[in-house]
């Protein structure tokens, strides 16, 4: 099987005392793909990742990484995984090259391999000019790069990156994303994040997790479609009008077929989301209303589904019931 799953998770559960952090989740990650692991804070992302990287054993269920069981073949799993934990903890008193050398030794690389790999990952993570620096003196961005370089050092088939772009400035974020995108194909990457744009940019697949359960998974497009489908059923109309806000709101609310109006942006120009029977008739009615009142209609379109909206929708406790 060429496209074998590199990470297989089956009925994985983790309890912290009475609190169930991860609840019976199943998913797979195909070899060579970049998968976004998405969820709000406290959703169980880090717990899942820690189980996959053998930091803690699952309470029940199984997980296999690179063909090895995380519980019974923990050492092999760890040998085949490159892991960048949240916040990238490092040894501040070491030099960058010393740190990488040490990590290489821990992974059982011999001297020549270490030398070669350090040069390689330093080059790849734009660290070459910082090799002699003390880790403690590196900026946040460089530390993150060092973390990624460390994860890549032994050229593992699987990379697990936990929030790799947190705390970086925009240009650094761009660089990091570029780097991750480059890794696709050569490595299987599981990227944990709560930033949607990142997922859209670099991931081929997305797994959304919330309160310990998998809420949705698929390619970003699939999810968007899913979102759109949800929109078709009872979708909304985005309207931008210039006019007195209370009048505009009440007027549109009064139109037949309108169920609910959300104010997205208030001011001289209002941006409204209209929910209701969104047929052509309503659009024409709104246009007519605006013209009739002498307001200015700036924009009117059927609300396109963004991943963000979808995410908010399904992870919001109020709506999750509907999504599930």
């Amino acid at each position: 099987m060429q496209n074998a799953a590199e990470i297989v998770v089956q009925r994985l559960t983790k309890d912290y005392g009475r609190f169930r952090a991860v609840d019976d989740i199943n998913f797979e990650v195909a070899r060579g793909s970049v998968v976004g692991f998405l969820g709000p804070n406290g959703a169980g992302k880090t717990t899942t990742i820690r189980m996959l990287t053998c930091y803690m054993p699952p309470s029940s269920g199984q997980a296999r990484v690179a063909g090895f069981d995380v519980f019974s073949q923990s050492l092999q799993v760890r040998q085949n995984i490159g892991y960048l934990p949240e916040n990238t903890p490092l040894y501040p008193e070491m030099r960058v090259e010393e740190y990488l050398d040490y990590r290489g030794k821990l992974r059982g690389l011999n001297r020549t391999a270490r030398k070669q790999r350090i040069a390689e990952v330093a080059d790849r993570c734009w660290l070459t000019d910082r090799l002699r620096w003390l880790v403690g003196k590196l900026s946040k961005g460089y530390r993150q790069r060092l973390g990624i370089a460390d994860a890549l050092l032994h050229n593992p088939p699987v990379l697990v990156l936990d929030e790799p772009t947190v705390g970086l400035d925009p240009s650094q974020i761009r660089e990091a994303r570029k780097l991750i995108a480059e890794l696709a194909g050569r490595h299987t990457v599981l990227l944990s994040t709560h930033i949607l744009s990142e997922v859209e940019l670099v991931c081929q697949r997305v797994i959304i997790i919330g309160r310990g359960k998998i809420l949705a998974q698929g390619t970003p497009d699939e999810l968007k479609q899913q979102c759109a489908r949800a929109g078709a059923a009872g979708s909304r109309l985005l309207v931008e009008v210039r006019g007195p806000s209370d009048q505009v709101l009440s007027a549109i609310k009064a139109l037949p077929g309108v169920e609910k109006v959300q104010v997205l942006a208030d001011g001289p120009v209002q941006s409204l989301a209209v929910v209701g029977r969104l047929d052509a008739q309503l659009r024409e009615q709104i246009a007519a209303l605006v013209v009739q009142r002498g307001w200015a209609l700036r924009e009117m379109r059927i609300g396109g589904a963004t991943l963000e909206e979808f995410f908010v929708q399904i992870t919001d406790p109020g709506t999750s019931q509907a999504a599930a």
Binding site: A30, V34, Q62, Q204, T219
Partner: protein
Amino acid sequence: MAAAENKDDLPTAAPQNRMPGSQVDVSVSGRQRWLYGANTAILIIIVLAMVVCLDWLSVRFNYRKDLTTGGIYSLSPRTKKLLALVDHQKKRIYLVNLYPQGQPQGRSGITEFLQGRKVQQLIKEYSRNSSYVREFKTTHGRKALEEQIRARFKGEFSPYKAAARQFTRLALQIKKFLAAEAAGWGRLAQQPGLTAQQQQVALSVQSVFDGSLPREIARTRRHAQKALHSTLPDWPRVSKELSDTAKMLASNLSALGKPDALEQSTNIQLGSAITAYLKGRTAVYHKEIALLKAYRQKITAIKPLRAGAILHELTPDSLLVMGPEKLKVLPSYSLFKPRSAGLGQGPEYVFNGEQAVNSALLGMIQKHRTKVVFVSISPTNLISTGGPFSRIAAQLRRSNFKVFQWSPTPVNPQQGPAGPPPAMGKGVIWVVVELPPPGQESYLAGMINAQLESKVRQHLAEGGNALFLLGSMPEQMLMSFQGKLPFKGLLGGYGVRFRPTYSIVQRTQTSRHGYVAMPEVQVSTFPKTIIGRPLESLATLFAGQMMAPNQFLLAPTVVEPLAHLPKGTMAKVIVQTSAGVDTWGQPSGYTGRAVFQPGTDLPAPLPLAVMAQKGTTRIVAIGNVLFASNQILESGQPYVTGGQLGWVYNYPGNAELLVNAMYWLAHDSHLIAVSPRATVALRIARMSSGEETMVRLWSFIGPACLVIVAGFVVFLVRRRV
């Protein structure tokens, strides 16, 4: 491309071959944690039990190796042999450490505490090496210890008990006699023809026999009976009473039984009747008196009780050795011998415990005591108090020898020749003092020496062993021998040669530029022989007296093995001077400068003592008469510690060497006492107080400063990119 792959992957059914056991057990995690916890707890308990077990086994079956050079913390092989002997005789011996246990109190307590620890370690070593030597812990309480001691001296009481029992029998007999006598005197008083005064005397004598004497006897007998039936009677008091009563009876009988004594004491003419009666009874009276006297003698012959004395001696800071029949208290001064640490220094204490305990053990397991006879041409006192060899004689007695002295010279020539030697021949050691001992030089050596020599020859021929104390001789004495030196031939037969024409001297500075050759040689190196080896760390002196510049008396002389040993003999050097130009052998009569003169003088190293053996006969020849004399043994300095005056001996090696030689001569070389062990460490060189402060300051501050500098350098280096 990627999307396509994803689509292929979307089906959730995982490949079955990758996930064996599709049925995943989802257990309650609380139970899981409990299981983990219980597992871990059991594991910890098992490991703890294993650790405790291992440690217990290691205490039970430990192996210890003393890695100090010379093994100063382990018993010497000879002590081990001695302990094997103890075990062989199956004699249970207890060692009791009476040093205060626990933490030291105050500054003066520290020495005591450290000494106590050393003693404790020694006791441990002994009990480790023997199954019959045990430690008796004082923690059981002093009372328990006293009971132990009394139990050990049970045998001591039996003569006292016998005496008490005998007294009851004696009392019966005497009472009968007294009753008969009282009757006799009564009848006498009734006889006609007595004056009133005479009658009075008879009646009063009768009342003595009838009343006061029997009363006394009854009282004493009561006390004796009581003592016999009580557990711990005061035997000395009881025995004194018994003896006093017997004495009183005897004196009464002798006063009353003799007519003239009676007459004198009463001042009355006794008259014929009484005198006749007494004459007839004299034999009976004498019989009774003899009986009483014999009884008294028996009581006084009983040895004084030692248990009491021992209990009295049980001071803190001592070590008690309890054998089955004997007890010995080793006080701290015999366990820790002060030794001079050099001029202007306090004494240093040499731990002598092993030796002290060994000699105590020896006294307990060895009944037989080898006889040692000091033989000299001088008949004056050698070995008792005041004699020149009294100190070494005392030491030999302590080491289980019996010491005598003998001289072929009669003390009083008018009373005829001297008696025979107290002991000679097999199993006896003679210490032959070849020259008149110090203070007794008036005895001429010449003729009598020949007599002495023939006696020694006989002694050796009968299988005896001998130690010779030889010395260099002044010229006139040499001439008196007319070339026929005494003992020369005798010693030659054992492969030993001595050269009294040479005195061994050492160059000593007397003033800034003045040097003088003194007949005093301190030795500290010993060839490896059984006698000399244990002495390596002890200062040993060979010395003579200087009468005038270059005129020596009893100076050390050269004693060496012959170049060609006679067949069947063995001879080895025990002691020799160290090499160097400061020591040499100087011919007598020489009056030159205090410098080694090549050609006439003998160069160092010079042998000073030799051990030799031919068949089973052993001799040791030491080239110095004063070697074992009080003069050297007592030399030392007083010191004050803890408000007490003590004495530090300068040359502890001399007595050691002599006693070791004695053991060898007695064919008891396995008992050769172990010398106090000392480390091979040398002393730290003396220096001026300035230098000392410098070194102290450096060692206190220097390394720390270096480390700080090193830390700073590392900090700077690490900062650099």
